[in-house]
């Protein structure tokens, strides 16, 4: 026997944190129905559009999200941007509670001179482009030069560098967007400089991602020893084991010869100053400083392709308080607002709560924590009319002229996998919303 749900919760954003929040709500002892709203017709957020195409195993996490989508009381509502198509206050009026799980879609700017010169890009734009995100598919990147510079020493910077130095054969059988595979196949890049402010002990590279650079088909990793003081690879006292392994890997890279046709060069102690060029960037300038010795010197790297990978921030949502300093929706431990003045019934989880950090699973602990707070508040939140949530969803489907629900996604998914099969890829993504909708319609889901 199915009982009528007592509580309706809306979640905004179908990335990992949105799915884990849905799961926590549906597993709770309360009788809750969940509507998961997503801007695009396709779910999974940065698992689809961030995680690198050559990390296929990680993408298997979507099997967990598929299971969550099967739970009774779950509804996926794709193709709706909250704050644009529906206001946040309209949503709040129709649900007991709303959880924002909108991720961190925007790259952080550094405010340097020449940062907007053509040829200087946000890493997040490049990542969106090679992963076939509809917002980024029309961007172009010039791979005609021999040297690219990636600024930032985190895992996203490693992804960007790896995609730049892998051969077409290493990428051909991944789910990389077709347009990216084509453009990268023509690339003349031979050298990628991975530049950071700190030393080998100050990176945020995870050991596993760094280790991959020792195994690339056509690229040798190296370290520019001129950047470093003596004994740069001695791990500091008390450093965690992961960092120790990363330092050891960099040490090994520093002793490698450049034999393959491409090279990825790790650079240290270089703080970006600005970018030079007329029509487009032709030089990136950094300030090098020797640790503790008071030495400083400007260092230029000639390049016409630069990627900034120094962090991301959440896109503000209309009528939701924003914390510009942290780049997230303003929140006190998951409740939107400031401590003591929280907006009733409005919550946040995932990257739009804590900023871009951790692995996919960190969002599970994070979503559980937010849902715990929501459940504690639930009894005291005002009840909307019992049919309000259904009215919201049916009016969306009416406006769309079709249902972009989980069934529609399944049709898109099947079509992508079929397109991929003929190319020897796990899937060939549709890179426009129109094409996604056409594939969804293929399964006769018009209302």
């Amino acid at each position: 026997m199915t009982t009528v749900p007592r509580y309706h919760v809306a979640i905004v954003g179908a990335g990992p944190s949105g799915f884990y929040a849905a799961e926590a709500l549906l597993r709770s002892d309360k009788n809750i129905a969940v509507d998961l709203f997503e801007r695009l017709p396709v779910p999974y957020g940065l698992v689809r559009f961030g995680v690198a195409p050559d990390h296929a195993k990680l993408k298997q996490v979507t099997a967990v999200f598929e299971r969550i989508a099967q739970m009774p009381g779950f509804r996926f509502v794709g193709g709706v941007e909250i704050g644009v198509d529906i206001g946040i206050d309209d949503l709040r009026r129709s649900y007991h509670a709303v959880i924002l799980a909108t991720g961190a879609a925007l790259g952080r700017e550094m405010g340097l001179t020449g940062e907007n010169l053509p040829g200087t890009h946000q890493a997040s734009d490049f990542v969106g482009w090679y992963n076939g995100h509809p917002d980024y598919r029309d961007l172009t990147f010039d791979f005609g030069g021999e040297r690219a510079v990636v600024i930032g020493h985190g895992n996203v910077a490693l992804d960007v560098a790896r995609i730049l130095v892998k051969t077409p054969d290493e990428l051909r059988h991944t789910d990389i967007a077709g347009h990216a595979l084509e453009a990268l196949a023509e690339s003349r890049i031979r050298e990628v400089h991975l530049v950071g402010r700190g030393g080998p002990d100050g990176t945020r590279f995870s050991a596993k991602e760094l280790q991959e650079f020792g195994t690339l088909g056509n690229c040798d990793p190296g370290v520019e020893m001129g950047d470093l003081a003596i004994d740069p690879f001695v791990p500091p006292q008390g450093v965690d084991p992961e960092r120790k392994i990363a330092i050891g890997l960099l040490d090994a890279f520093s002793r490698r010869a450049w034999e393959k046709s491409r090279r990825c060069l790790f650079r240290f102690h270089l703080a970006p100053v600005g970018f030079e060029g007329h029509e487009r960037v032709n030089r990136a300038v950094f300030r090098w400083s020797a640790q503790g010795e008071g030495l400083e010197q400007d260092v230029g790297i000639d390049t016409n392709l630069v990627f900034l990978s120094v962090g991301r921030r959440s896109a503000p949502v209309a009528d939701v308080p924003y914390d510009a300093g942290r780049g997230v929706h303003a929140n006190a431990g998951g409740r939107i607002g400031v401590e003591g003045e929280e907006v009733p019934g409005l919550y946040v989880c995932g990257w739009s709560k804590r900023g871009p950090q951790g692995t996919i699973g960190t969002n599970r602990a994070c979503a559980l924590d937010t849902v715990e707070k929501l459940l504690a508040d639930l009894g005291s939140l005002p009840s909307p009319p019992s049919t309000a949530a259904d009215s919201v969803v049916s009016s969306i489907w009416q406006r769309q002229g079709l249902r972009l629900d989980f069934e529609a996604w399944r049709a898109i998914d099947l079509a992508e996998v079929a397109r991929g099969r003929v190319l020897g890829k796990p899937r060939e993504k549709f890179v426009s919303v129109e094409a996604m909708i056409a594939a969804a319609k293929g399964k006769d889901i018009a209302c």
Binding site: K57, V64, S206, I245, G358, T359, G361, L368
Partner: protein, 101 residues
């Protein structure tokens, strides 16, 4: 290259690892946790979460620790999944101190 739980975990069970696993592939018995190698997606998220450094990627295991690959495979098949944090076993803090952590 799955991740494996090693003997540092025995007698501890903080289960911090479990809360950050995206695919719920930790299993548990009275002594320790085990990772199901067929479900683990190699995200590495559990490694820094473990307060006693019990989890390692299999490629980093020393020769005398290689046996844990097979133990994790076998025991994860025989034991239930654990999805939530448990209360640590009595004596867990002593164990952590004994390991010098």
């Amino acid at each position: 290259m799955p991740y494996v739980v090693t003997d540092h975990c025995t007698g501890c069970r903080y289960t911090e690892c479990v809360t950050v696993c995206p695919v719920e592939c930790f299993h548990i018995d009275d002594d320790m946790t085990y990772i199901d190698p067929d479900n683990c997606i190699d995200c590495g998220g559990c490694v820094p979460a473990c307060p006693v450094g019990a989890i390692q990627p299999s490629y980093l295991l020393s020769p005398d620790q290689q046996k844990w690959i097979e133990i994790n495979r076998r025991r994860s098949a025989e034991t239930p999944v654990v999805t939530m944090r448990l209360t640590p076993l009595a004596g867990a803090d002593e164990r952590k101190r004994a390991l010098g952590l």
